[in-house]
Assembly symmetry: C2
């Protein structure tokens, strides 16, 4: 098959999936752009339904599963689809896997997980996913998600780390219950009644819990008696740091203490 018109229904559908979060959620499908990102999705056994290849641009040599349909598209169709100004010549239609807590498994004796409550900015989420990949955390758990995980900006900002990480999506209730039942030491990033992050020990089962960019943590997390509030002491005039920055400072302090990266 060779698609040469931007009005082709499959192309229109891809465009809609790129821009409409609700459609992505309803159809459990999303679009991946870029060789590196598609390669990451392949490595991590994502179900790629179709790939659209513009032969004038495509230089890579990705190997797809048998079930993946390969469709040729003309340069103008590719340029119409390309969300970023890349010339890699490939776009994929991919199925979203389940991210339920029930699918989460870890063999680590002392898992380290990051909980994000309703993060909103795809750029932040992507940056955090890169950090989580680098730190090889056991999971990142998104509580009460507000932003679709497979937003094109998240995929792009994550450089594909959205595919390599173990990601859980769930309600705050179920994530809290899981952490509690599994005896995690929980630390919430909050200013009120908190200790310096440097005064705590993160060597055993640890969960860091971070609020949203604009509102911080809700009372749900702030009022749990068995969660220790911690802060990153700040000496300037702004009273907060970027969410991906504070997450990284906590995560890498935990790694330092665990000496696994020295």
């Amino acid at each position: 098959m060779h698609i040469t018109s931007t009005k082709n229904p499959q192309i229109k559908h891809l465009k809609q999936l790129q821009s409409k979060s609700k459609l992505r959620v309803d159809e459990n499908s999303f679009v991946i752009e870029g060789v590196r990102e598609i390669e990451m999705a392949l490595t991590h056994h994502y179900h790629i339904v179709k790939v659209f290849i513009a032969e004038d641009f495509y230089q890579a040599d990705l190997k797809f599963e048998e079930h993946t349909q390969v469709i040729r598209i003309s340069s103008n169709v590719y340029q119409h689809l390309a969300y970023r100004s890349s010339t890699e010549g490939i776009v994929a239609l991919c199925k979203s896997p389940k991210h339920n807590l029930s699918h989460f498994k870890t063999h680590a004796e002392n898992p380290l997980v990051l909980v994000l409550e309703s993060p909103e900015k795809p750029g932040n989420i992507g940056a955090i996913l890169r950090t989580v990949d680098a730190a090889k955390l056991d999971a990142v758990m998104i509580a009460d998600p507000k932003t679709d995980l497979y937003n094109p900006n998240t995929i792009r900002a994550s450089l594909g780390a959205v595919f390599s990480n173990s990601i859980v999506l769930g309600s705050s209730d179920e994530i809290y219950e899981f952490l509690n039942d599994n005896s995690f030491n929980m630390y919430s990033a909050t200013l009120q009644n908190s200790n310096s992050y440097l005064s705590e020990n993160y060597k055993t089962k640890t969960a860091f819990i971070m609020g949203s960019e604009a509102y911080g943590l809700t009372t749900f997390w702030r009022q749990k008696p068995n969660i220790q509030a911690i802060n990153i002491p700040m000496k300037g005039q702004i009273d907060s740091m970027n969410l991906s920055v504070s997450s990284a400072i906590l995560i890498f302090e935990a790694l330092r203490q665990r000496e696994s990266i020295v």
Copy 2:
């Protein structure tokens, strides 16, 4: 004065300053939006030439210098100007100060500075400026800048930290010479021939040197024999973290060693 038309030359000029980096640089002027950001600029003695206030929205009570001209604008003019979806009712025209190295002074015995070579993304630069503010670094030095410091997205992402920090703009040559002449211990974030960042000591005069998001450090910085290359060990599949994230991990490790934040 009360401006009610979006075609007013002053309003057109503001719009151009918001979108045209070259014009900002040529005129040493830029636009600030938001009460908090304008307040930060006032606190740090920025020269605010004019403020444009929409009385239907404006609730704050900022005190301006005598030289600042206050101009009333109608709601429709304000909404035409408002770069972000805020309803704070105020926009300021501000002069950029000099950021030359010759203006940089510190009384710290062991200054800690961050050097960024040609960072490009306003969102990253803004996030880094928030970190630099929180850590109260002695300076952030932008070598061979590519992105205008007063880009509206940088101001916004910095939450006003662009006004609170000591910022130097200069060539890589002059910044290196300054650090060398002043016997800074220099650490470049590079993978090649590098030590783990946890194995170095940052308690004396320290400069961290970070490359751009897309290209890392140029050979100018990588080939200096008296700069120690350091890396943040990464265990995942992506070989890099976001620039604002890696900068923060290094900075907060230095603070931890200096014990100034415990």
